[in-house]
């Protein structure tokens, strides 16, 4: 069974049909790309998937569970984590605490236990520290764990956002333009990291990207979106050679 099945998803803002009749199937372990010109509705689909917007039509099945119209918090608990096009870190928290906040639902002790510093507090905090540092090491951020997230350089902030999303233990990871603002070297490094995450965390990844080098380099399948509708979808190489896609991007 497919991990993510979206059928006939649609939403309107006023008179504008931002996303219409959007259907997609993503198998477990796939690295799937969502591309399209600016304003095609890619981020809107992410917002529909994570419950920021409620769809007017359609259903979203995650691992067989219907998550259509659920709240953001519940969707995250069901197994979808995301990053943002404009980075949204907890700026005044340290790098380590950003990841530990991501571990919030995986490790638990009560507020009173925390205030009274009962033995469970020390035990669970230690486990959280260890798990968070493990995750930071994957992204080469463990050296910077004690500095504030806002003081990280741009490329590392993007990586920290991925680490924080992974900390919630998702089944599906949504990356919204992970390579935006990165130089070619950083992009190559990011491609390796994304592959590493897929292989080592058994992760299914859906990503929005404009960088064609990244898209053609790591995505196995693509869906092209234009004016809120699916233009074409299929294997990466086929899609990128489709004359319709080239027309949508470059004009006639």
């Amino acid at each position: 069974m497919a991990l993510l099945e979206i059928d006939n998803l649609g939403i309107s803002f006023g008179g504008l049909r931002a996303v219409d009749n959007f259907s997609i199937t993503i198998e477990k372990g796939q690295l799937y790309g969502l591309i399209g010109p600016n304003g095609a509705g890619k981020t809107t689909i992410f917002n529909l998937l994570t419950g920021v917007y409620k769809p007017n039509t359609g259903t979203i099945l995650l691992d067989g569970e219907n998550i259509t119209g659920k709240k953001t918090v519940d969707i995250n608990r069901a197994g979808i984590a995301r990053t943002f096009q404009n980075i949204r870190l907890f700026k005044e928290l340290t790098v380590l605490d950003n990841v530990k906040t991501g571990l919030h639902n995986a490790y638990s002790y009560g507020t009173v236990t925390g205030i009274l510093r009962l033995p469970k507090y020390f035990k669970v905090e230690k486990e959280m520290d260890e798990r968070a540092i493990e995750l930071l090491k994957v992204f080469g951020l463990d050296e910077e764990k004690d500095i504030l997230a806002s003081n990280l350089p741009y490329g590392k902030q993007r990586k920290l956002e991925i680490a924080r999303a992974l900390a919630t233990g998702p089944k599906l990871l949504l990356l919204d333009e992970p390579a935006a603002g990165m130089n070619p070297n950083e992009t190559t490094e990011l491609m390796d990291t994304i592959r590493f995450v897929r292989d080592n965390f058994d992760m299914t990844i859906l990503l929005i990207e404009h960088d064609m080098k990244l898209v053609s380099g790591i995505c196995e399948r693509l869906t092209v979106l234009n004016f809120g509708q699916v233009l074409t979808q299929g294997k990466t190489a086929d899609v990128l050679n489709d004359p319709e896609v080239i027309k949508a991007y470059l004009g006639e």
Partner: protein
């Protein structure tokens, strides 16, 4: 091996900062006690010791809402008012039932904190679900309403129990031997004077333990994540309303404790513009802003200095308010000017680098 050492180092860093904060309070307490015993403290100053504790607790409490939760409360004195009156009512009606002053005061503190927390929940549940600055508006109204409501309430006690009215003392319909406890605008008289400097300092320390331990815990991280980025916090599965409400309720409860200290420091307690009004709430906000939003230690120091200052400057008489204003401005610049922040950072970094080399 190296990894575990690094974790310890980090824990030690927050621990060290917390110990400094506790240390400052304890050291200040010892110094003041020594001076009082040596007879070096004027009566005027002695009278200020409990108010200093009250305002310190208020500043820490408000900093939890403003600095840690990132919401603005403009009616924090209202929660203090709830704590003050509920605990005073308790203490007077239990005067005979619990003759031991210490035990009675202990319960009075719990009662004050409980009712202030209840008020916090009532205000918080509808407001904290909204996005935006609604809390500021609603708490502003709450502060004014609670003060005005209390000045028209009459509560009396006789053999058959408590009587309640909003008209006048006669409308209570009490038996002959009944006594009026809350007498409308005249407030409560005869509250036992249980507040002492020592109890005040103990309550400051308890407040600090609660707030500092909360900040450095799982719930504290959740609260600060909501402050830093609501959308991201939601996306990683944090129940925003729950943690907002938690922080705000704890903050209100602590303000209630300050109110208990306040009411048990005066024999006559009234709800007026001066003690529980808008100006009082703003003054507490000034402590927080000057001491540093989110900086618990800073807001404590600001509260102490700004409570002492008007009295210390009394000798200068006509220039008093002028100097007060200048000191406010200087503190503001020192804490918030980007250039000075930069300078301080560089100075500290230099010191640290030198230490590490040594």
């Amino acid at each position: 091996m190296e990894k575990s050492m690094k974790i310890n180092f980090r824990l030690n860093k927050t621990l060290k900062s917390n110990i400094i904060t506790y240390g400052i309070v304890i050291a200040a307490y010892i110094i003041v006690q020594l001076l009082v015993n040596a007879g070096q403290v004027s009566n005027l100053m002695k009278g200020l010791l409990v108010p200093i504790c009250i305002y310190t607790i208020m500043a820490i409490s408000l900093n939890l809402t403003v600095g840690i939760l990132g919401e603005l409360s403009l009616g924090h004195a209202g929660f203090m008012c709830v704590g003050a009156f509920s605990s005073a009512l308790f203490s007077i009606s239990m005067l005979d039932a619990i003759p031991n002053a210490g035990i009675r005061f202990f319960f009075a503190i719990l009662i004050g904190a409980f009712f202030a927390a209840l008020a916090g929940i009532v205000v918080g549940i509808p407001v904290l679900r909204l996005r935006g600055d609604y809390l500021a508006i609603v708490t502003l109204a709450f502060g004014e309403i609670i003060k005005n409501v209390i000045s028209v309430v009459y509560i009396g006690k006789d053999a058959s129990g408590l009587h309640f009215s909003t008209k006048n003392a006669m409308a209570l319909n009490m038996a002959k031997e009944g006594t009026v406890i809350i007498n409308g605008a005249q407030g409560i008289t005869g509250t036992p004077k249980n507040s002492t400097f020592t109890i005040g300092v103990i309550l400051i320390l308890i407040t600090l333990v609660i707030v500092l331990n909360l900040i450095h815990s799982r719930s504290g991280r959740a609260i600060m994540s909501v402050r830093d980025n609501r959308i991201a916090a939601e996306s990683i599965g944090i129940n925003i309303t729950k943690y907002k409400l938690m922080a705000f309720t704890i903050s209100a409860a602590l303000a209630g404790v300050a109110g208990v200290l306040y009411s048990h420091n005066l024999s006559a307690l009234t709800a007026t513009q001066k003690n529980f009004g808008y100006n009082q709430s703003i003054m507490i906000l000034v402590f927080v802003v000057l001491g540093g939003i989110g900086n618990i230690r800073g807001s404590m120091i600001a509260a102490v200095l700004l409570t002492l200052l008007p009295e210390l400057l009394r000798g200068l008489n006509t220039y008093r308010m002028l100097i007060y204003a200048i000191i406010l401005i200087v503190m503001m610049i020192f804490n918030w000017s980007p250039k000075l922040i930069d300078l301080r950072k560089r100075y500290f970094h230099k010191n640290r680098a030198e230490k590490e080399r040594a």
